[in-house]
Amino acid sequence: MISRCVVRTGRHFAVALLAGAALGAIPAIADSSLSVSYRGQTVCLTHVMPYAGVTAVGIQDPAFGALLRATGAVLSWKSRERYILITTSTPTIVSFALGSRRYEVGPTVMQAEFAPIERGDEPYLPLDDVVRALGLTARRDGAALALESSITSAPQPVAGSPTPEPAPTIVPNRATVVTGVGVTMSDEGLTVNVSVSGDAAYEWHRLRDPDNRFWVDIKDATLQGSPIEQNEPAPLVSMRVRQVDTNTVRIALTLQGPKAIAVEPSTSGLGIVISAQDIAGAPRSGSGSLGSIVSEKQSPTAAVTPAPIEESSGGSGAEENGWKFGPRETYVPTNPRLIVLDPGHGGSDRGTIHGGVAEAELTLDMAKRLRDILTALGWQVKLTRTTDTDVYAPNDSPHDELQARVDVANHAGARCFVSIHANAFINAGPYGTTLYISKAQDYALAHSIEARLADDGTKDDGIIKAHYYVTFHTKMPAVLIETAFLSNPSDYALLTSPAWRQKVAQEIAQGIEQYARENPVRQ
C-alpha cells in the first residue's frame, strides 16, 4: 500500500516539490496521496489536495493521525466545531480555526499559508504549518516527504506578535557516527563522554523519581561497534548504548537516585555529567545540537516520556525512615502512574442543561482532552466512562452510579482521582471555578490544580470542603472540579468553546503534574 502510494505520487510530487521549493513551503501536490516518512516509518496521506499553492491535509486521514501519534501529538476536533486543536508532545496547544489564517502555537500567533477549509465534513489544514507547529522540518527524500525533528526555522508570526527566538540550523549529516562512549570519575561525580564525529541533533529525557532513568538520543547517527551494556559505579547503576532505530543512537543510564545531570554538547560529542547530589524538580527533557553548532536547551516543564513506562522497584528504602516522625499518608497507590478521570454525569443523567448544552457532554469532552494531555506526559489514564453512558446502568440509583465511579479508582489503586463537572444555578448570577474536596489528603491536589486554573478566564472561587460522595469515598487524593457555570452567559461562552476546554484540560494536567512532583509516592 505504501509503496504503491510512493510510485503513484512520485513523479507529480517531485515536480511539485521543485516548483514549491522556492516558496519555502510544502508545495501543492497534483495527486491525491502523499508519502511521508518520519523516524524510519512511512505513511501514505490520502486526504490531501492542492490549495492556495500548497498542500492541504484532511484531519480525518488515518495516516495523518498515525503521523501525529508518532510525534506524540493528539488532535481534537468535533463535527461542526470551528476549532481544530493539536496538543504536541512538549505539550503545546496548536489552535487552528476554520476560516481564519491566524493560528496559535502556544502563546504565539501565527499566520497560516491559507485559512483552514472544510471539505465535506472534514477540515483541511495547511500541511506546512502543521509540520512546523509540531517542531518538524520537511525535506525531500526521493519521492517522499521526510519529516525530521526541527531545531531549524520556526514559523513566522504575524506582525505585532512575539517573534520566536531563532534556532540554529542543523544540516542533516548522514556521516554522523557515535564512535565511542566512556566514563570518567571526578570529584564532582561521574561523566559519560560520548564521542561523535560530525554534526547531530540530540534529545534527552529522564523519568520521575523513583524511576531514575535517563537517556539521550543522538539523531541521524549510527553507532560504531557493538552495543554496550554494563554496570557502572555510583552515582550510576548501569549504562546501555545501542542503535534503537536506523537513525538514532541511544545512551541510556540508570541512576542511583534523582541525581543532578548536566548535558554538555561540544564540537567532539557530548558530555553527560552526573552529580552525586540528589536534586528535586530537575528538568525532565532537553535538546540541542553538537558538532560545528553547539547548543543545549532544557525544557524544565516538559515531561515527555516516550519510552515504555515500566514499573520500577528503584525506590530508595532508606527514605521511608524520613517519615517515621512526620506526617504520613495512609494511602499508597498500587499503580502510582495511574490517574482516574471522572467525567461527571452521562447517559440517563444529563447533569445540568442550558441552551441545549448538556453538562454530561462537556465533562466527557474535557476529560478526554485531559486524558490525551496526561497520556502525552507519560501518565496512564483511566476514565470512569469514555462514552455518553451511565457508569453503572441507565436510570440507576445515585448510590450505584456514584459508587461505580469510586470503584473504578479504588480498584485500580490510582494515584489520584479527578471528577470534572460544570456548575449551574437557578439564575445567571453565579460564575466561576470551584474545587471541592472531602478529605485532608485532597487538599494538596486541589491546591496544585487551583493554582493553574486561577487564570482560566472566569472567577476563582477557591477550594471548598464538602461531603461529596466521590471525593469522600475514593481512597486516594481526589478533587471534584466545577469548571464554570452553564447558567452564566460569560461562563457559558467559555464552556462551549473547545479552545477554553482544551485550556482547562491543559491547566488541570499541569496541576496534576505539579502535585505529583511535589508529593512523591512513598512506599
Partner: protein, 172 residues
C-alpha cells in the same frame, strides 16, 4: 413551744422551694432566639438572621419545645431568607415534611421537590450547608440526617452530597 415550731418551718420552706422549682420549670421560656443560616451566592459563606421564638407552652415539655423549635428552624431554613437577600435557595416547592429529634441528631424529611436541583453542586451544597448550620445552632443538636419523601437516600439523583449519613458542620 419554741421547739415544735422549727421543724414545721423547715418542712414549709422545703415545700415552698420544691413547689417553686416545679412551677418555674413548667413556665414558658421567654426571649429565646435562634439563628437561621443561609448560604450566600458566593457558594460558601454564610449569612444568618436572628429569629425570636414563641414561649414554651404550659403543656409542652422541654424536649417537645426543643423539637418544635428545631422543626420551625428547619422550615425557615428551607424557605430561605426574605426575597431581597441574595441567597442560595432550595428548589421551589421544597418543604419539610417532618422533623424528629433522635438524641443529638435531627432527622429531617424533605419533600420530593428537593430533587429538582438546578444542576451542578453549587446550589445543592449551599442548601444543605444552610440547613445543617441552622439546626446545629440549636443546643443539643450536632448532626442532621436527611431523608426525601420518607426514604433515606444516599444522594440526590445527579447530586454530589452523601446523604445516607448524618451531616455535620465538620463536613464543610
Amino acid at each position: 413551744m419554741r421547739g415544735p415550731r422549727l421543724p414545721l418551718l423547715i418542712v414549709l420552706l422545703i415545700f415552698v422551694a420544691v413547689a417553686g422549682w416545679f412551677w418555674f420549670s413548667r413556665q414558658p421560656q421567654h426571649g429565646e432566639t435562634i439563628a437561621l443560616y443561609f448560604t450566600k451566592q458566593d457558594g460558601s459563606s454564610l449569612g444568618k438572621l436572628a429569629v425570636s421564638m414563641r414561649s414554651r407552652r404550659a403543656d409542652e415539655s422541654a424536649s417537645e419545645y426543643r423539637e418544635n423549635v428545631a422543626r420551625y428552624a428547619a422550615i425557615e431554613a428551607v424557605a430561605g431568607p426574605p426575597n431581597d437577600i441574595a441567597a442560595i435557595r432550595f428548589p421551589p416547592g421544597t418543604h419539610v415534611r417532618s422533623l424528629t429529634l433522635d438524641g443529638s441528631v435531627a432527622r429531617v424529611d424533605l419533600s420530593p421537590e428537593i430533587a429538582r436541583q438546578a444542576g451542578g453542586s453549587f446550589a445543592e451544597n449551599g442548601e444543605f450547608k444552610a440547613l445543617v448550620f441552622t439546626l446545629t445552632a440549636i443546643p443539643g443538636i450536632d448532626a442532621v440526617q436527611v431523608s426525601v419523601n420518607g426514604v433515606r437516600v444516599p444522594a440526590l439523583t445527579g447530586g454530589h452530597l452523601e446523604l445516607d449519613q448524618p451531616l455535620r458542620r465538620s463536613d464543610w
